[in-house]
Every structure is written in structure tokens, then in C-alpha cells.
Amino acid sequence: MKKKADVVIVGGGVNGCGLAYNLAKKGIDTVVFEKKYLSSGATGACGAGIRQQWSTHENAELSMKSVKIFEKLSKELGEDIELRQGGYLIAVHDKEELLQSEKNVEMQKSLGIPVKIISIEEITKIVPILDIKGMNAIAATFCPTDGHANPFKTTFAYANAARKHGADIFTHTTVTDIKTKNKQVSEVITDKGCVKTDFVVNAAGISSEEICNMVGIKIPTKPVRKEIMATERLKPLFDAMVISFKDGIYFSQQNEGQIVGGIPIPEQKPGYKTAPTVSFLQHMSKTLTRYAPVLKHINMLRHWTGFYDVTPDARPILGQTKDLKGFIHCHGFSGHGFMLSPMVTKILCEYITHGKTSEILESLSLNRFKDKKIEHEMAVVG
């Protein structure tokens, strides 16, 4: 292990590896420490979705710019990330939801996102297996450039490209402490050695709180266990990701033909417990077969758990605070880390290399929780 690096990143998920790639490409000497294997946290357990339909302007802008990067990423990294842009279809169930949707769509359109409100007839044209009565929809919003990509392959592709540009990525290496000097980070201690550095990036997902504790920074994030399932492979049935904020369900058909989806369970509480629940199996199968009755004949193969690192406003914590120089936050994604990663890692790279800040970085800084009024992201699912 080298003794010194320009930047040390804690966490080998899509954001850690993506940032390592962006930095290494600019010639920055970068080291990544991952305590398990690459994509072992939220990245590897996620639903693979990429959407631009949000209620807050920051998330919409970050995701819209991320989609533009995703579209060219396979070529840029030299490995297929299996991007499929079949759109996101968000069910609208009542007048109240329609009002919020109209507001969201107006804001998204003003940014240039090609989203629109569609009728119930159009819903079944886009996803023929849906039962309008069963899903209880009065309309939907649809954005054709939303979609999904393979989170494992995206992370591996970022990591491989980062290594090609000279980044060092250590898996099965645990960060045990971070040393500071005069309100500036100075050294990262791991179970395999120490590296001196001026920049530490906390991209540790639900372990971010633990990493922040090492330097005495408090964050208001809570780990929330989420469950998700996959069916057997089927012939191509539909291209869009179907979601409902009211029912909490989301599902899509992936590249290989399996349907992947999740739903929250009623008794969900914050905590680190990982075991999957029977409640999820019942809840998911009932809701999914209500939305698409034909799927009752399809086998579920497995169901697993992952964590959202949820902030009070369901938006990520990014950038640096004045309390500690060189400590860069890149966490609190609240279930949306994969889809925001291309743009998040790009702006954090610009911030680290040129000190370039932006409106988005300012409004997503940890400091925002000091104010009483925070703007909550309403468009959250799962």
C-alpha cells in the first residue's frame, strides 16, 4: 500500500468507484477502500432504476444530467453497463396525486425533461400487462428517457476504468480511523495500512455515520432496510419501470428477462437488521398480481434486503463543511445513489480538483439541516 495519496475514498459502491474514475482520469492519485467487495452495499442490492421524475429541482437536475452521462457511459468506460431506456411510468391514483404530479411535471419540463401526463388508455399501450382497475389508476406520468442499467456492471466498469487510469482499489480493507490536524484531514488508517492524504471522501453508504463519527461529525441519516425480489426469466413483456408512490411498489423487467421489484412493508422501522420477511413476500405478491394479474403464474426466485441511507429530506448530503477541511460527504442518497451517481461524482470531482462549487452542492450540503425549513423530496418509492 502506498504511503500517500491525493484523495482517499471510503466505499466501493457505484459512487466511490465512479468518483475514483473521474479523479483518476484527471491524473489525481486516488485510493479506494472497500470493507467487503465492490458493490456489496446498497449499489448491489438496488432496483437498478434510473429516473428523472422528482419533486425537487436538485434531484431532477442531477438525474437529468446523469442520464446524459449514462447514455454515453458504456462507450466511455469500454464496458457494457446494459442501459435500457424504456421509461418510468408513475401511476396517479387520485386528484390529490394528480395535482402534485402536475406540479412535478411542470418543474421537470422547465429543465428540459421529456415527461408528460398520460391517460389510462396510454398506460396499457406502454405496459400491456397492467390492469387499470387493479392498480386503481386515473392517469400516470411517463418519461421515455428514464430506464435502468446494471448496477454491478456499472460499478465494475467504473472500477476497471479507474484502475486503468492509475487508481488503487483495495477490497476487504476496513477503514478504522481518520486522523485530522488543525481542522484538516491528514491520514486514513485501515486494518491493512495507513495513507496520508488531504482529501477523504465518505461514500460509505449506511456506514457513513460510522465514518463521520471518526472525525466527530454528526449526520442525521437513518439506515432503513428495504426488500426486493426477482422472478424467473421471461420473454420481453414490457420496457418501462412501473412505480406508485401511494402503494410504494416499483417493478421492471430487466435485461435478462427477470422482473425485479420491491415494496415497503407496513411494520418497517429504521435499523440494521438484514433478514428478509414473510410480510414482504405477501405484500409484494399481492400488490404485484393486483397490478399485473397475469404474473400470478410466474415464479419468484429470490428476495433480498438492502439499505437506504435516509436523510430527513430524502436528498443526498454532498460536499464539504467548514468544520473540517478535506472531508467530502457523498452519502445519504435515500435509495437513489445509483441513478444520481454519474453527475454526483462529476461535480464532486470538479469540486475536489478545482474547488469549483455550484448551487446544487450548496443546497445539498450538510449545513442545510441547521435550518428549520428543509424542502422534502416527495417522489420516493420502495
Binding site: 448491489g44 428478509p276 409484494m284 405478491s285 400470478k296 403464474h297 419468484m300 426466485l301 428476495h303
Partner: protein, 90 residues
């Protein structure tokens, strides 16, 4: 043995050559191999292939794979139809 014709994972149609190539490319963690190749993600859920992959990995790297790092068994263990799971009948 023809590595191109030796099937390791029947569900995902992966050969010994596919697995060895991935190991050579640096995927030396069983979970990373699984996520890269989808090995163990088909209807058998790894019951047929994971132990074979473990042996191939150990042979190639010369390192024992720790039992703890074997992929977790995920419910419902055997394929169950969504209709059966959604049913209230006991």
C-alpha cells in the same frame, strides 16, 4: 477437458471458460463473480453451481474461500409462484 463445452452454471448457460476468464480479469471474490456473471441467480439459486465455482476459484487463486463469504441463501429457496404467495389459503 474442453473448457468451452464444460457447463458450470446450467441456469445461466456459463462455461468453465467463462468463469476462468472472469477470474483472470480480476473478479476473484465469489460475490463479484456472481454479480459479474449472474452465476447462482437462476432457478437453482446456486445449489448446483456455487460449489463448483468455489472450487474453480480456489484452484486458480490458490486461496481457500472462506465459508462466511459464500453467497447467502435467499428466500423462498425454491421457486414459488406469485399467485401462491399472494393467496390467503393455508
Amino acid at each position: 477437458m474442453n473448457k468451452k463445452k464444460t457447463i458450470v452454471c446450467r441456469c445461466e448457460d456459463l462455461t468453465l471458460e467463462d468463469v476462468e476468464k472472469a477470474i483472470d480479469a480480476g473478479y476473484t471474490d465469489l460475490e463479484e463473480l456472481r454479480k459479474k456473471l449472474r452465476i447462482g441467480m437462476g432457478p437453482c439459486q446456486g445449489r448446483v453451481c456455487i460449489q463448483l465455482v468455489q472450487k474453480i476459484l480456489e484452484k486458480k487463486t490458490g486461496k481457500k474461500v472462506c465459508v462466511k463469504s459464500l453467497p447467502k441463501v435467499r428466500p423462498p429457496v425454491i421457486p414459488v409462484s406469485l399467485g401462491a404467495l399472494a393467496s390467503d389459503e393455508k
